[in-house]
Symmetry: C2
């Protein structure tokens, strides 16, 4: 008996020594870390005692390293800590965020090489984050990552909402399928893009949204992507195991590291309530606190712009059609014959400034203001823009003064065409030009292949560039809205001057052939997990041929859905993207866009199902007013919500903008502009049942009755 | 008869139409351009009616272009012009340079594609230069070069002085062989280097020096390498045809072009007198005139420096041995334990400043002054230096003031470790730091592989970077001496602030195992054709173990040879590289280094044979004084020269520093420091016969007797 007792004890001790358990503050999530027999680090995750992630391997393959960092580890230290703090973001869906987790830091030593890594786990009530850390040490100083080996072993053939893995773009419509179907649907899902690079028929991007047949929602993403390659996921569809697949640098290496350093956090958000996925603040919580001391210059803004007219093809970014190519500083635009379609003219811009001022907007974005648009992409041109030289018909100072006189800010545009060395060479002068001419915010773009050629949009090298631009912008007190850059991963907590990204298929694609009508019911579960999206909604004219007879695209959304986006597609930066004349045609509906707030005290996700519907209520900061948005997918649906988030004892006037449901039903395809507006009084006991059509939705402004 | 007459006339016309002849101003060189039957452009070159270059093909292979630009051309225009001007360089071997050539510009149109190129030939008395030009046109705007197809068909199996083709380094000893032997000797010639990339067993670098069995000297190089990939030569050793082999960018492409644009000039310097090869100014003449308006701040300088003590291993660049790696801005050097071997300390630098002031030098270079040297190369580190943060023991301001008080300039050092994006990110602050702290000149370095990894030192992308650094330096009125950068191609005419390059195996290799004793008799024929070399001569202690007992290198040169280098290795920037104590040991010989001028009114090459000897006399600008240098190769030799370059009727005192020739013969290996000094009076009728030993030489200062 004694012998078996000691054996059992030894086994227990062994398990205790080699297996570490961690629970979330509310105990619903449980994580277990252990070493497999060959010293491979492994973790698993349970939610309410159900397996979410089966035991999954961790580690990294290093270049020029026979041993790698994948096995032969022993645990030499474990530290468990608890953390509970509340912090205030500069802007956000909420004014106050609780950061509460239990942490396990496991120090592993590799036999034979005497190398150490730390794997740090943070278990929140909403999910798990973990990362690799490489402490300062003798035997691991400089190393190159060949591939990261982080697995996420799924318990079954879940439903998944995905876009195909790609080193250069995320501008795909989402596909909803089973995990097992990714392989066959991958190629078809890869619609054309000016810069795209596939790597695997079962590769997908993050954040990845899944739903199990048992009704569990699982989201995979990363947080704090800094000085590291962006992670995709590659599915072993025999075993249903996702494995990390990093974006390579030009030479194929996946990361140049110098200890001490760390990987980003790999995140798994879990809930049996889809609304909690959307409400999760884990991505932000895993990022470093704000590094900017004085944030008073960082302000959300609602804007219009000279943009949609070029996207639809009505106008051009370029000034002239006279040259096959231009050379900055050599080509004399003053002598060139204007093409007559240039959008960014002083006169046209002033119209937008007038419109913005009349309608309470804060700023006007202008694209195509600067020399270089005649041959701006598709040629991997190096010296493509200088970011400071306007076309002859764009009066920088005159426009600045006119805007200033109307209390309007101009938003700068820096299209880089992917030529990142060129951008870095000019960036100080470009940022200083902004300050000298009254611009506080810049929309940057990375359209086309990265130059130097061969690099990828999401490699460590290029990710490093985006970060450089953001940090330098902070030095100049400039806000950045980066398009075509890497998907955000919560870095806006640390650098809140990063007020937006695109990094997904935005509204422009509605003019490039259209997006799926349920696209906006997926994006909050995928793209927006990492940060706000400059989705640029507010399209009132769905038939693009009315704007440009040669463009037969159709915007696959009802007008009410477009209004709802100002609430459902969270962003501190919101554009009313359509042409002023289209807003003037539907002034009553436009009223919602004028009224909706852009910075929030609180947000309540009322209803949510990926691919089907999202309904959220948000309280405008510094007021008692609320705004509700509902976006609906393919199937018409009655949304049922309670107003119990309203303050007891107060009355509010709710204005409901909804799809028309009568003889002439709204229909995103055939009758998108059919909407109704009605006003009712509500209080915190009120409820609402509102039908949204296919591709439809509704928007509600709830103003406190004083 | 009539029929044959017309046929003959037609043939004549056809030849006249498709073949273009060009002669040099003195008619000794004759070039013929023609189209082969399939429309392939071809040229040939004769010298004094002897074939130098057999008919050789021209053209370019373009990427993603089935047609290429190699054949199917017709001549649609030819223009012949003559040019004859004299211009004054800011500094140089001579004060006035004649630019005299006959030019032929042939415009070719490609059938089927309707694309045009211009090939422009300039035939000087010293050789031929030609380049491709791509005019602005509809059918050729953006194009990528897959490979240039420029051939140089040799007439025989010439003797050639070469280093192996390499995308990343030129720091090889020269091999002298027949063309046919390159293949077998190529691998062996590739001694180890921290950054090297071979591409072909018959690849060689330029400038390439050849001598035919008939005694004709032929030099191949390029001029005005701007925004293009550096050209190597690959030998078809069956047919003895060299063909251009460009350095690729990271993705393998060999050039991204946008018309209108041009290639660099491909140059062929020809003479039956080796001295005329050295005297040729063709490379400079093919470059654009000076683009800097005010050049008053550009000044030749003689300097000493804290450098050789690190190269020999006596001191270290680094400050501490405490860390396996450092992170700039994080690592606290103030708390680090000094390693006690740091060369760049305030105290040590002041010693060099004192030495410089006492001996009439203009400046002191200091390497290892700034944070980052602990792990500065071999790791492809990105943020390796910030170029502005000194170590705790280097007092920037204190040193500047001390130097200023002694009328000494400090020379800045920017080692980039090949991390060119990092350098560009910091370059404005780095250059401004220089101006703020009294530095006018910078030695830059590119040791190690280029970062971003995968790129090459001589690619278009990296060549573009060096040019960026030079042009930006000119904006700051800063002179640049770039080491490990691309070989110069005469750009110092356009940007005379480029006062030096290394781009070859310099004196440092004498401490890394030694160079061939005839190395310095080859370099003027190869490396120096493109521009001056910062060879950093003046080593008086040949036994390096006397400086660092662990380093058993031997400097393969006599002391007299080292003195001669100040004359034979032209540079506006001359270092007395050895440690002051070694100069103090041989103060009488050191006097020559103190006396020798660094900017010249005129230069006369008296004797020259590649690999064997170079003897040159130079007149110091603004004086009537001359300096002569002779460097000798393997075989001891009596140099016989006339002083007929001296002004008639004047007397001069000549001080001759020569290898000792007595019972204890100088010998570069066993008795390098045996030298004699004698003074004689000379005039323009004098002659001299002076024996130089193996690896030896002599130096003469000729001072006008007033």
């Amino acid at each position: 008996m004694k012998q078996s007792f000691f054996i059992a004890l030894a086994v227990l001790l062994f398990n205790t020594v080699n297996a570490q358990k961690l629970k979330s503050p509310n105990q619903k999530l449980q994580m277990e870390f252990s070493l497999q027999n060959d010293g491979t680090p492994s973790y698993s995750l349970n939610y309410k005692d159900k397996v979410v992630i089966k035991p999954s391997k961790l580690g990294l393959y290093l270049k020029n390293d026979a041993k790698y960092l994948v096995n032969d580890f022993t645990i030499i230290d474990t530290k468990m800590t608890a953390f509970d703090e509340t912090w205030k973001p500069v802007w956000g869906e909420v004014a106050s965020i609780r950061n509460n987790y239990n942490e396990l830091a496991v120090t592993l030593n590799q036999k034979g090489t005497d190398r150490q890594i730390i794997i740090r786990f943070r278990l929140f009530n909403d999910g798990l984050g973990f990362r690799y850390e490489f402490p300062s040490q003798k035997n691991l100083v400089y190393f190159t990552i060949k591939e990261e080996r982080t697995q996420f072993a799924m318990t079954g053939n879940h439903t998944v909402f995905w876009i195909p893995g790609d080193y250069d773009t995320q501008e795909y419509d989402y596909t909803s399928s089973r995990l097992s179907e990714i392989r066959n649907l991958n190629e078809k899902s890869r619609t054309e893009n000016v810069s795209q690079t596939a790597f695997s028929p079962t590769g997908v991007q993050t954040s990845l949204m899944m739903k199990t047949d048992e009704g569990l929602y699982i989201n995979l993403h990363e947080a704090a992507l800094i000085n590291y390659a962006c992670m995709h996921l590659n599915l072993d569809d025999k075993n249903m195991i996702f494995e990390s697949w990093l974006t390579p640098n030009t030479n194929g290496d996946k990361g140049n590291m110098q200890a001490p350093c760390q990987s980003p956090w790999r995140t798994i958000i879990v809930s049996d309530d889809a609304r909690e996925i959307l409400a999760s603040k884990m991505t932000l919580n895993l990022n470093e606190p704000c590094k900017i001391e004085d944030t008073s210059w960082i302000k959300p803004v609602k804007y219009v712009g000279v943009w949609w007219e070029m996207i639809t093809g009505k106008s051009s970014w370029s000034f002239t059609n006279e040259f096959p190519a231009v050379q900055l500083g050599v080509t004399d635009f003053a002598k060139a014959k204007p093409n007559g379609t240039h959008g960014a003219t002083t006169a046209n811009v002033k119209k937008y400034i007038d419109f913005a001022a009349e309608n309470g907007f804060g700023a006007v974005l202008v694209e195509g203001w600067n020399e270089g648009w005649e041959d701006w992409f598709g040629h991997s041109k190096d010296y493509v823009f200088d970011f400071v030289t306007p076309y002859p018909d764009f009066d920088v100072k005159g426009i600045h003064e006119y805007a200033k006189s109307k209390d309007i800010k101009m938003i700068m545009h820096h299209e880089t065409s992917g030529a990142i060395r060129n951008y870095e060479r000019h960036i100080d002068k470009a940022y200083q030009f902004m300050k000298d001419n009254g611009y506080d915010a810049v929309k940057s773009g990375y359209v086309g292949n990265i130059v130097p050629q061969g690099d990828n949009h999401y490699s460590q090298w290029t990710v490093n560039h985006y970060q450089y631009a953001i940090e330098k912008a902070a030095e100049y007190k400039i806000m950045v809205n980066a398009h075509e850059a890497v998907r955000p991963t919560g870095i806006c907590r640390t650098y809140p001057n990063l007020i937006g990204n695109e990094a997904a298929r935005g509204t422009e694609y509605q003019a490039f052939g259209g997006s799926k009508p349920n696209h906006v019911t997926v994006l909050p579960f995928t793209r927006l997990i990492g940060g706000p999206m400059d989705y640029t909604p507010g399209i009132f004219e769905m038939d693009i041929s009315k704007i440009n007879p040669n463009n037969h695209s159709h915007v696959n959304s009802t007008l009410a859905n477009q209004l709802a986006l100002y609430v459902t597609m969270y962003s501190p930066l919101q554009m009313a993207a359509d042409l002023p004349e289209n807003y003037n045609r539907f002034a009553d509906a436009f009223q919602f866009i004028k009224d909706v707030a852009i910075d929030w005290e609180d947000s309540k996700y009322l209803e949510a199902e990926p691919g089907q519907y999202v309904t959220v209520a948000r309280k405008a900061k510094g007021t008692n007013n609320w705004f509700i948005g509902n976006v609906n997918g393919y199937k018409a649906r009655a949304s049922n919500i309670k107003f119990d988030f309203l303050e007891k004892g107060k009355k509010y006037e709710a204005t409901i903008y909804a799809d028309a449901k009568d003889a002439k039903d709204a229909n995103y395809k055939t009758n998108p502009q059919a909407y109704t507006i009605r006003k009712i009084t509500v209080n915190n006991k009120s409820t609402l049942s509102q039908v949204s059509v296919s591709g439809g939705g509704y928007a509600i402004s709830i103003i406190e009755r004083k």
